[in-house]
């Protein structure tokens, strides 16, 4: 799944996702990606977030909406992402998932849930301080 957040020079936020979902799913199954607040969320008064992972689990927590609300409270994007992951961890310790967050000043971060075989999450960033699109990685919590 790709989840993306774009914040323009004047702070306008847009987000989006696209996916073909889980493999061998039961026909009719829809994951978190097309659900606003789950797959992604954008609010130009606070920031944007997008989630990826096991959509059956993640959609139940509206992780993208939650992350934006944390940033609205002034949390740093990385902390906002981590808090979302830890919220889900309480109920499903072994869930597979990651979140990216960015606020309207252009600060960004990401977080993921550490499980065997998934201990780091790679994501892409491009901003004026980078001469090209940069692959970045966070250690899962």
């Amino acid at each position: 799944t790709i989840g993306m957040v774009v914040i323009g020079g004047n702070g306008t936020v847009a987000s989006g996702t696209s996916t073909n979902g889980g493999v061998h799913k039961i026909p009719g199954r829809v994951g978190d990606s097309p659900i606003a607040g789950a797959g992604s969320y954008a609010d130009s008064t606070a920031g944007g977030a997008a989630a990826t992972g096991d959509g059956d689990i993640m959609m139940r927590f509206l992780p993208s909406y939650q992350a934006v609300e944390y940033m609205r409270m002034g949390m740093d994007p990385t902390v906002a992402c981590q808090k979302v992951i830890s919220r889900i961890q309480k109920y499903v310790p072994e869930f597979f998932g990651a979140v990216i967050c960015a606020n309207t000043t252009g600060s960004y971060g990401a977080a993921c849930n550490k499980i065997p075989g998934f201990t780091q999450f790679h994501f892409m960033v491009y901003n004026p301080l980078l001469s090209q699109a940069a692959e970045q990685v966070v250690d899962c919590i």
């Binding site: 989840g3 914040i7 020079g9 987000s15 696209s18 990606s33 960015a102 692959e135």
Partner: protein, 181 residues
């Protein structure tokens, strides 16, 4: 350090990031950048989890989910279980622009897409077909069923519900870092 504009996306899908950034540099809107950036992954079939020819369902079909959101107006366009149309996020954008709805699903969403001028085409590829037949040959394992007969952990369906439901705590049956949405 904070700096604007910024494009951030999940996984190392570099071409998507570069496409979105280029749209911004050429004067496109943030929504344009999201649509084209994510749309690039649909074309590239990023890690098999985006776009046509990936993640076949139990009937071997690839179906697509996508959304796009405008943080200024809080408008959202989304499609789910979209069949036989490749550019899911493009269709999601049309939901914002040409309907007062937010989410359109299934075959009817495909009909809407055709009305919006998107081609109606098969999303199956030799790769997704081979994934599907391999799965059938390994007794349809793994799958997302529980409390059914025959035992879904041992054989394919069709399944019927098991009279006595066994309460299982969150079972994570899929652990494949490429199986995500």
């Amino acid at each position: 350090t904070a700096a604007l504009p910024v494009v951030i996306n999940t996984w190392a899908f570099r071409k998507a990031t570069e496409t979105a950034w280029r749209v911004l540099q050429l004067g496109g809107s943030e929504l344009d950048a999201v649509e084209k950036g994510c749309g690039q992954c649909e074309i590239d079939q990023c890690d098999g989890s985006v776009g046509y020819g990936g993640s076949p369902d139990e009937s071997g079909e690839t179906t697509l989910d996508a959304m796009i959101m405008d943080g200024n107006t809080m408008e959202v366009g989304a499609v789910a279980d979209l069949r036989r149309v490749k550019n899911a996020i493009g269709v999601a954008r049309k939901v914002i622009e040409h309907t007062k709805h937010t989410l359109l699903v299934g075959e009817s969403a495909s009909l809407f897409a055709v009305r919006m001028g998107f081609p109606y085409e098969d999303l199956t590829t030799p790769k997704s077909l081979s994934m599907y037949s391999k799965w059938l040959n390994q007794s349809c394992q793994p799958n997302y069923w529980k409390n059914v007969v025959p035992d879904s952990s041992k054989s394919c369906g069709p399944y019927k519900r098991l009279e006595k439901v066994i309460c299982e705590k969150w079972t994570i049956s899929q652990r494949n870092v490429h199986n995500h949405d």
